[in-house]
């Protein structure tokens, strides 16, 4: 099978960056729509918050940090000098998506005649 590019889209935001990179890897498209334009200071600030978050996590990963578990601290640390990220983390801090998978067969077996 040829390689495919995972795409995360829908309800993602800067505060989940460590999880997104852990589960999806670095060859990934992160389509953060609401998590960008929903930033209280504006779209550009939302984009900056996402860039700061992804770069802070990648730097920590490359340095050998346990970035999945230390992710919230790494992001909080970057938010101390990045007002854009600070506000994004504050706005979306309670937004998580821990759904059960919906990718299951839901067809009922029917009798064949």
């Amino acid at each position: 099978m040829p390689a495919v590019m995972p795409v995360a889209s829908g309800g993602i935001h800067a505060g989940q960056m460590h999880q997104l990179l852990h589960y999806l890897g670095e060859d990934v498209v992160l389509q953060s729509g609401g998590g960008t334009i929903g930033h209280p200071d504006g779209v550009a600030q939302g984009a900056t918050a996402n860039r700061v978050a992804v770069e802070a996590i990648i730097q920590a990963r490359n340095d050998g940090c346990d970035y999945l578990n230390e992710g919230p601290e790494i992001l909080a640390s970057a938010a101390r000098w990045s007002p854009e990220l600070r506000k994004a983390l504050e706005v979306w801090k309670d937004v998580t998506y821990n759904f059960e998978s919906t990718d299951v067969p839901d067809a009922l077996a029917t009798l064949t005649v």
Binding site: R51, V52, E55, A56, I58, Q59, N62, D63, A78
Partner: protein, 87 residues
């Protein structure tokens, strides 16, 4: 001048130790490192000049740091000379 393109451009300037850590990560992954520079850091300028030679066989981060700092010193010195000439 701050530019916001390329990796880590949204983070504060790296210290030498932080640069070296990233260089080490590249080398551990088996990637070749080259130092490039430009006086036109435009998003669509993909043709930067290369500083010296590509370092295909390099395994020591310190050697890369030497090249980076050598390039930095060269351009800072040149900038000072230009500033001096304009006075």
């Amino acid at each position: 001048m701050r530019i916001t393109q390329g990796a880590f451009s949204y983070l504060p300037d790296f210290t030498d130790d932080e640069v070296k850590a990233q260089v080490r990560y590249c080398l551990v992954n088996g990637w070749a490192i080259s130092v490039e520079y430009t006086d036109d850091p435009h998003p669509r300028n993909v043709h930067w000049e290369m500083w010296g030679l590509p370092m295909f066989d390099l395994t020591d981060p310190d050697a890369v740091m030497g090249e980076i700092n050598g390039a930095g010193k060269f351009f800072i010195d040149r900038l000072h000379n230009i500033t001096h000439l304009r006075r």
